[in-house]
């Protein structure tokens, strides 16, 4: 009875666009959904450092090396903001990392694809970050205060990421024959994975409806996906590159681009962690974590000794 009253009040707050804060009452399922979604988002930022880190030591100019380094650093920062937002729900970062390492927590499967050429740094920035930004802009209006605030900060900082990627694509598309081929090859490989980043169609999505009602998500997967496709195709035409989908056409009735059916078998294969990329990314993270254990232990011990010293002084 009490809970039902609270639930109604909760929904009223949501409907009035009043943000939910950590110490407010919230339904357990709301909390669980947020824990899953925010930590998954944080893990994605952190695992997402790897495919780009793969080219940091091979960036072909001082400028691109500097920008890529700053970009990967931003991703670490964004992961950090998000872990902190998730922690306000009563779970510690240690636990989130453990779930990640045990394979219980997911991250965006797009980061399981390999980055094979320098053009991938362009395509990842332009397409993968481009897709992420569409999602993140929408999430600035999410109902949970700490998550929304993290998103606002992230969106402000992300704006340079997509430009960085597009700039590489422009350079390659206007470069030598080999550079153009490299750019086209990257678009061929990254187009569909970025479209799949928005998740299953609305009709298939397990969590969507309740999340929309609670305003954890503000727009559906298909709405966001369509927005991304519409704006990206225009940009692609500017580059003179071809998207690997013969059915991409502006539909005069809807004023949106139509596209071919998505290969969901591949999507679920990658989500389930099949393929080398998934093992590689997770093993990398686990190894770094284990390699750092003695350092963290030292820092903890040092902090304790300093505290003791301060107290006895």
């Amino acid at each position: 009875m009490e809970d039902e009253k609270k639930l109604i009040q909760f929904q009223q707050k949501i409907d009035q666009d009043i943000k939910i804060e950590p110490r407010d009452w919230m339904p357990e399922k709301y909390r669980q959904t947020l824990i899953r979604q925010i930590s998954q988002h944080a893990h994605s930022e952190i695992i997402g450092m790897q495919p780009e880190g793969n080219w940091l030591t091979r960036a072909p100019s001082l400028r691109s090396k500097k920008i890529l380094m700053a970009k990967i650093q931003d991703e670490a920062g964004h992961g950090l903001y998000l872990y902190c937002a998730a922690e306000t729900l009563g779970i510690k970062r240690e636990q989130f990392l453990q779930w990640l390492h045990e394979g219980k927590a997911k991250y965006s499967s797009v980061f399981n694809y390999p980055t094979l050429t320098w053009a991938d740094m362009g395509a990842v920035g332009w397409l993968v970050d481009g897709a992420a930004i569409v999602n993140q802009v929408s999430l600035q209006g999410t109902s949970y205060g700490p998550y929304a605030r993290a998103m606002v900060k992230i969106c402000m900082e992300e704006s340079f990421h997509q430009r960085q990627g597009f700039e590489i694509m422009v350079q390659l598309a206007n470069g030598t024959k080999e550079q153009k081929e490299m750019a086209q090859d990257a678009v061929n490989r990254w187009w569909w994975p970025s479209i799949m980043m928005f998740g299953p169609h609305d009709s298939e999505s397990a969590h969507s409806n309740q999340s929309l009602k609670w305003k954890i998500k503000r727009e559906s997967n298909d709405e966001l996906r369509q927005r991304f496709i519409d704006k990206t195709i225009e940009q692609g035409h500017h580059l003179g590159l071809i998207f690997p989908d013969p059915n991409l056409k502006l539909n005069p009735e809807t004023n949106h681009y139509d596209y071919s059916p998505i290969d969901w078998d591949e999507f679920w294969n990658v989500v389930k962690g099949n393929g080398a990329g998934n093992r590689q990314r997770l093993n990398h993270h686990i190894k770094a974590h284990e390699d750092g254990k003695w350092v963290r232990e030292a820092a903890i011990a040092y902090a304790k000794k300093s505290n003791l010293k301060q107290k006895s002084a």
Partner: protein, 250 residues
């Protein structure tokens, strides 16, 4: 005369370049996320310093650019110190290398801000602020590892012992040093040894780390164009794209 200033800028620029490259290799591998961000900031500062010195070097030489110097130069034409070429064995090595270089940079750049060469003094005035921060940061970590656990103390001691021999090169004078000193552009490297040693020793002692004996290990130094075996692999990776596609611009 410009030849020697060119050589001097390469030495400083190349050393920062290669160290920042090593930091880049470490990306996403730090013990805790906060540290990943922090160390990347150091890497970015060093890369910025490298770019400034290499830009100046390129102007002195004429008809070239910092990018061309970075990505198309042969190994024997690099002038980076051996210490920055050493690999990322673990956090103790990475930290010790950084700390030894931070101390060196602070003593060196404190002189360079008064250089007779305006470009060098200008670059150095910006760089010294960054360097002072780097040194504070690495000093704190030396204390954490040195005084943390027995295990961390041993690992740090081991890294210090292993890397110590590379510090000899920092204070060797070659013709370039003598010329720089004469023109009041930069100090004799040998003159930096005492202040550096004081800085390093006092921190290491506070961290319960024994300071190894000075150990002259080789007469062939990076600043003279003779390198460790590590550098070849670093360059093979770093220069890979521009060498594979010589006509492309990036």
């Amino acid at each position: 005369m410009n030849d020697k200033i060119f050589d001097y800028c390469l030495r400083i620029g190349d050393s920062s370049l290669i160290l920042s490259h090593r930091i880049g290799e470490y990306c996403s591998k730090a013990p805790i996320l906060e540290e990943d961000l922090a160390i990347t900031n150091v890497g970015l500062d060093l890369l910025g310093q490298a770019e400034s010195f290499l830009n100046y070097a390129a102007e002195l030489k004429g008809n070239t650019t910092a990018d061309e110097l970075t990505f198309k130069r042969k190994e024997k034409d690099f002038r980076c110190l051996h210490l920055v070429q050493t690999p990322n064995i673990d956090f103790a090595f990475i930290l010790t290398r950084q700390f030894l270089i931070d101390c060196y940079h602070q003593t060196l750049f404190n002189q360079l801000i008064n250089s007779q060469d305006e470009r060098i003094s200008g670059i150095s005035k910006k760089a010294i602020k960054e360097i002072n921060y780097h040194l504070k940061r690495s000093t704190e970590w030396i204390l954490r590892l040195g005084l943390g656990t027995d295990h961390s103390n041993q690992r740090l001691q081991n890294a210090v012992n292993e890397l110590w021999m590379y510090t000899d090169e920092l204070f060797i004078d070659n013709e370039t040093d003598i010329k720089m000193d004469k023109l009041n552009i930069g100090p004799l490297s040998s003159s930096l040894k005492n202040p550096w040693e004081q800085l390093v020793t006092s921190t290491l002692r506070s961290a319960s780390i024994e300071v190894p004996e000075a150990n002259l290990y080789s007469l062939q130094y990076g600043k003279n164009g003779f390198h460790t075996e590590y550098l070849g692999y670093i360059l093979a990776e770093m220069q890979h794209l521009p060498l594979l596609y010589p006509d492309a611009s990036w």
